[in-house]
Amino acid sequence: MINKVVGSFDEAMADVQSGAMIHFGGFANPHNTPNYLIAALARRGADQLTGVSTYAGHGEEVQRELFERRNLEPLPDGWDLGLMAELGRLGKLITSFPNGNSRELLYPFEHVLRRGEAEVEVLGQGSIAERIRCARAGIPAFYTPVGVGTFVAEGKEVREFDGVAHILETALKADFALIRAHRADRFGNLVFRGPRTFNQTMAGAAAVTVAEVDEVVPLGELGPDEIHTPGVYVQRVVVRPSTPLDDWRTPA
C-alpha cells in the first residue's frame, strides 16, 4: 500500500544532510511558503546548504513590518527562507531576488551577503523556473534569449537561433524540494489553492519532494481532472498543525 503521509515535520526532514541542495517553494508570501518544513529544517541543523528560491525570504522582523503596513496581523508561524539566513545555514543561494523589495528594510539575506558569509547566484526568475522544470523533465540544458548581453550571460555559451542570440542554461536538480500545497491524498497527489508559484514547479525536481499541506483527504476525493500535481512527483506529505505554533524551535 502506498502511503506518503509522514507523521511529523521532523521526520520529513530527518535525512537532510549538511551541504544538500534544496528547492524552497512559494513566492514572497508566507501563505504559500512551506513554513513548518523550513522550521523543521532549521531544527535539523544541517548547514552549508545550497538553496534555490526565487526570493531570499523575509525573516520574522521584516515580515511583521510588511504585514503591519497592510493593517494585517502578522502570522505566528510565517517562517520562510529568512530564518535559514538568520541562522547562517545557507552556503549558497540561487535566486532572482537576493535583496528585499523595500529600500528601507534590510532583509536577513542582505546581512548575510554584506558579511560575505554566503555565495549568491543571481538569475532571472524565468530561467530559474525553467532550470527547475528541466530537472523534473529530464532535460539537461536549454537555450533562452533571456540574459544575453548582461552579467547573467558571463561564462555561458551563446548561440544564435533565427538570428537571435540565446544562452545555454542547465537543469537544477536538488536533493530535496520543500513545497506547500492545499490538499493531498496518500498517493501524494496535490491540489493547490491560488497561484501555484514555485511550489508546483519544484515538485518532482528533487530526489525527494516534500509537500506541506493543509489537509490530507481520503483517496479518490481528489478527482483526476482536478489534481494539479500527480503523486508521482511527491515522496512525502506532512499536514500542518491545526493550531498554529509560534516558535520554530517547537517540534512539529
Binding site: N29, R70, L72, S96, N99, Q125, A129, T150, R196
Partner: protein, 225 residues
C-alpha cells in the same frame, strides 16, 4: 531657469500608463510604480493582468483587510481582487507564457533607460547584489515594454540617459516611458517626447533629461482620456 512646474503624482503616472493599454491586452505589472495600474483601467476595456507567480486576470488592489484574499497578491505582495475569468498556474508555466511572447505589454520600473532602449533596473543603490526578479524575462520577451518611473533619481541624476552606466537588465527593449514629467517613445536610438505634464516646457524637460530629446510633431499636454 524658472521654477519647476509640478510633477505628476504616482496615481496620475499610473493612469497615463493605463490609458494606452488596448482592450484585450495581456499586461504584466512589475514591482514599484507599475503595480498601481490595475486600479485604473477604464471601465469600457478588459485588460488581463498577469503576475509572475502564476496569475492571469486579477483586478484592482484591495486596501480593506476584510476583503483581502491572503493568497491573491500582485508581484509586489499587495493584495488584489479576483476577477471573473482569472486563472492560476505554476511559475514555470507563468514564465513559459512570458518567454513564449504571449504577454502584450510589460510595465516595469527602472533606474535608468537609455536612447538605445537599454534597461537598467537590477542594482538598487545600497543593496548588496543585483536583483532581477522576473524583469529580465519580461523586458526581453514581452511584445511591448513600458517603463513607469520618476524622471530624476533621488540623488538628482537623470534616469533617461544616452547610455546606461548601471547594471543592465536587458538590451534594446524599452518602447515607451512614462515619467512624472511626460510620456516618451524610444525607437531607432532616439528618445521622443510625445506628451508633457501640465505646465512643463520642452526645455524644462530636456534640462532634467540625460539624452537628447526629439519632439513629436503632434506633441501635446497629457490628457487622461
Amino acid at each position: 531657469m524658472s521654477e519647476q512646474p509640478e510633477l505628476l503624482d504616482e496615481s496620475v503616472m499610473a493612469m497615463v500608463a493605463a490609458r494606452d493599454l488596448p482592450d484585450g491586452a495581456i499586461v504584466n505589472l512589475g514591482l514599484g510604480l507599475p503595480l498601481a495600474l490595475s486600479d485604473y483601467i477604464p471601465p469600457d476595456r478588459e485588460v488581463l493582468f498577469h503576475s509572475e507567480q502564476g496569475i492571469v486576470g486579477f483586478g484592482a488592489r484591495v486596501f480593506d483587510p476584510a476583503e483581502m484574499d491572503p493568497l491573491l497578491m500582485n508581484a509586489g505582495g499587495e493584495p488584489v481582487a479576483s476577477a471573473p475569468g482569472m486563472s492560476y498556474m505554476s511559475h514555470d508555466e507563468s514564465f513559459a507564457m512570458i518567454r513564449g511572447g504571449h504577454i502584450d505589454v510589460t510595465v516595469l520600473g527602472a533606474l535608468q533607460v537609455d536612447a538605445q532602449g537599454n534597461l537598467a533596473n537590477a542594482q538598487i543603490p545600497g543593496k548588496p547584489a543585483p536583483g532581477l526578479g522576473g524583469g529580465q524575462d519580461l523586458a526581453t520577451c514581452a511584445k511591448q515594454v513600458l517603463v513607469v518611473m520618476r524622471h530624476v533619481a533621488p540623488n538628482g541624476d537623470p534616469k533617461i540617459v544616452e547610455r546606461c552606466d548601471m547594471v543592465l537588465t536587458a538590451l534594446g527593449c524599452v518602447d515607451r516611458v512614462v515619467t512624472d514629467v511626460g510620456l516618451f517613445e524610444i525607437a531607432d536610438g532616439r528618445v521622443t517626447l510625445l506628451e508633457y505634464a501640465p505646465g512643463w516646457t520642452v526645455d524644462q524637460i530636456q534640462a532634467i533629461t540625460g539624452a537628447e530629446l526629439a519632439v513629436a510633431e503632434d506633441v501635446r499636454e497629457i490628457v487622461l482620456i
